[in-house]
């Protein structure tokens, strides 16, 4: 009885403690996230800086309609989803595989050096890397020179609607896989070594250890990252594409953000930008919540 009461009191105390722990962070979010969210109303206005949020005209859904009234809106949307979708897929698979490969390397100094090197490209901006990529695929660049030894005629990769998307996806994965693998390496350290010992006792090969110990151990992290990455399904990477595309590949490479940028060249369009941001958030939220529900249902794992 006595014990039950102390437990109850403890339970109540810890509730308060939890709230107190949440408080500072929530205050920051209140001021710097929730308050500015009032700006979302701009999505339903024709916002003019000189008139302010209160004085600008209400236009209902006109900003959203605008996006779908563009003659190429379906093409732009498709380009965005295809490029962003494949990026999400490979930006999950490649870092995971790389983390696993690196985990197999048992020479510690090599492991560390490699890790430091692969995370480098992440710190170079696309302005810089675009030049590197474009040079790589030049008529007289390494790729074409290599292909020529097999008798292939030089290909104008960056001006080809067949190649533009794969190059965008590939170079993005290349830039980010090292940095992306950090999270999985950290997850690997969390796996109980006892499990490996037990598996070895059972005579499991390295391959089956991988399948039955390592992967299940990483699965929560992988699921979480996938769910979070899904929110980017409408963000195909403005900086990258903007620095590498050209009018020839508009049909496969023009994405929402590059299009909105060009609309903005005629005078900043804050309302359109807000509307598209809102649309992206809604789609992202839907996908992320579905992912969470699906993982609860099928893997019995709650991500959030």
């Amino acid at each position: 009885m006595q014990l039950a009461r102390t437990q109850k009191k403890q339970h109540k105390d810890s509730q308060l403690m939890y709230h107190l722990m949440m408080l500072p962070g929530m205050l920051f979010l209140l001021v710097f996230s929730f308050v500015p969210m009032a700006g979302i109303v701009m999505a339903f206005q024709n916002y003019i800086p000189a008139k302010g949020i209160l004085g600008s005209d209400w236009v209902g859904l006109a900003n959203f309609k605008y996006m779908f009234q563009i003659p190429d809106s379906m093409q732009i949307l498709a380009n965005t989803v295809i490029i962003a979708g494949w990026k999400i897929v490979f930006n999950t698979i490649v870092p995971v595989v790389f983390a696993l490969l690196l985990n197999e390397i048992r020479v510690n100094w090599a492991k560390r050096t490699i890790q430091t090197v692969v995370y480098l490209p992440n710190f170079l901006s696309w302005v810089v890397l675009a030049t590197v990529v474009i040079n790589l695929f030049d008529y007289h660049g390494p790729v074409n020179t290599f292909l020529q030894t097999f008798g292939v005629k030089p290909i104008l990769f960056m001006g080809s609607n067949d190649w533009f998307r794969p190059i965008m996806i590939g170079s993005d994965v290349w830039k980010g896989f090292g940095y992306g693998s950090i999270i999985y390496l950290a997850a690997l350290t969390g796996i109980d070594p006892g499990l490996y010992e037990a598996a070895e006792m059972d005579g499991a090969s390295r391959w089956s250890q991988l399948l039955h110990v390592t992967l299940p151990g990483m699965l929560p992290t992988i699921m979480m990252m996938t769910a979070l990455n899904l929110t980017n399904i409408l963000n195909a990477g403005f900086d990258q594409i903007f620095n590498m595309y050209n009018p020839i590949v508009y049909q496969t490479g023009d994405i929402i953000d590059t299009y909105v940028y060009r609309v903005g060249l005629l005078g900043q369009q804050y309302s359109l930008g807000t509307a598209i941001g809102l649309l992206k958030s809604l789609v992202g939220a839907t996908l992320m919540i579905s992912a969470n529900e699906a993982s609860k249902k099928f893997a019995n794992m709650q991500i959030f």
Binding site: Y18, M22, L124, I182
Partner: protein
């Protein structure tokens, strides 16, 4: 037989890993080579992995560029201050959130609010108005406070905490420890790899962000380093008048810009090994248990 397949597997592992590593090294080597080259050769796109007409003039110019070092200092200040604030808030929030609804009744409400804050935003104008009306313009606080709660990192940390065994906490509570003590004395020491990861993300995030500097700093003297560097890219298609020539000729200096990029990347290279040891050596739960 088994040994042989292992050897083959090992060989391919090394091969793939080394090839990837090399591909990641080349662009930076290229940048370094450009930074040590003669500006005309760099502008001619003739510099590969070795400097052409080796010279140090770019680095000499950086040494004399006091705004560069001023901005460098501001970035360091921002990283230190910002990361500390981030870590405190991340840890404080991740712990209650790692509990289930039974242990912390309001958990899901908080979680939903946080996810909402992660997904939606009002854009830059309202954020600007908030910062301005709080009087934070041109202060270091405008760079660190708006991102004080990096939600992605909170979720990451929360999942690390979730993975820790419950038994330790229960035992401590039985001994009369408070929740705060549990967090500080049990959870933190056990989640060093997680802390290292979120620290790294926070540091990199602060170091690389240029946009808040652009938006919230009204004086160029208050720019952090990446904001300063971001300005150096000029779009020549917008130059229509000879009066803009001065700007054009000075900014198009590819070697100087490369040197600035190299110097600004060095701190990130230096910081990595310090954090790295926590996820390479594998600070495992088992080893701390004793």
């Amino acid at each position: 037989m088994n040994k042989n397949t292992n050897k083959v597997a090992n060989f391919f592992t090394w091969l793939i890993v080394l090839a990837l590593t090399a591909s990641c090294l080349l662009p930076l080597v290229n940048m370094v080579a450009i930074s040590f080259s003669d500006s005309a050769s760099a502008a001619a796109n003739q510099v590969g992995l070795i400097p052409v007409h080796f010279n140090l003039s770019s680095y000499r110019m950086i040494l004399e560029d006091h705004q560069f070092w001023l901005s460098f200092g501001i970035s360091i200040e921002r990283v230190v201050l910002g990361t500390l604030i981030n870590l405190v808030l991340i840890v404080l929030m991740a712990y209650p959130l790692s509990k289930n609804k039974r242990d912390f009744h309001a958990r899901n409400i908080y979680m939903n609010l946080i996810i909402f804050a992660m997904l939606f935003n009002g854009g830059m104008i309202p954020s600007f108005i908030v910062i301005k009306s709080l009087g934070l313009m041109d202060t270091i606080w405008a760079l660190v406070l708006p991102g004080a709660v990096p939600i992605f990192n909170v979720i990451l940390m929360m999942n690390f905490f979730k993975g820790l065994p419950n038994a330790l906490e229960e035992a401590a509570i039985m001994d009369g420890a408070s929740k705060m003590t549990v967090l500080l004395k049990i959870y933190l020491p056990l989640s060093l790899p997680g802390l290292a990861t979120v620290s790294l993300f926070a540091i990199v995030g602060h170091w690389n962000d240029y946009f808040s500097g652009l938006l919230y700093m009204n004086r160029a003297a208050n720019y952090p380093l990446q904001t300063y560097i971001q300005q150096l890219n000029i779009d020549i298609t917008k130059v229509t008048d000879a009066s803009q020539l001065h700007a054009l000729t000075s900014i198009s200096n590819k070697t100087l810009n490369a040197a600035k990029i190299v110097v600004s990347t060095v701190p990130l290279l230096l910081i990595y090994p310090f954090l790295q040891k926590y996820f390479v050596t594998g600070m495992t739960i088992g080893s701390v248990k004793e």
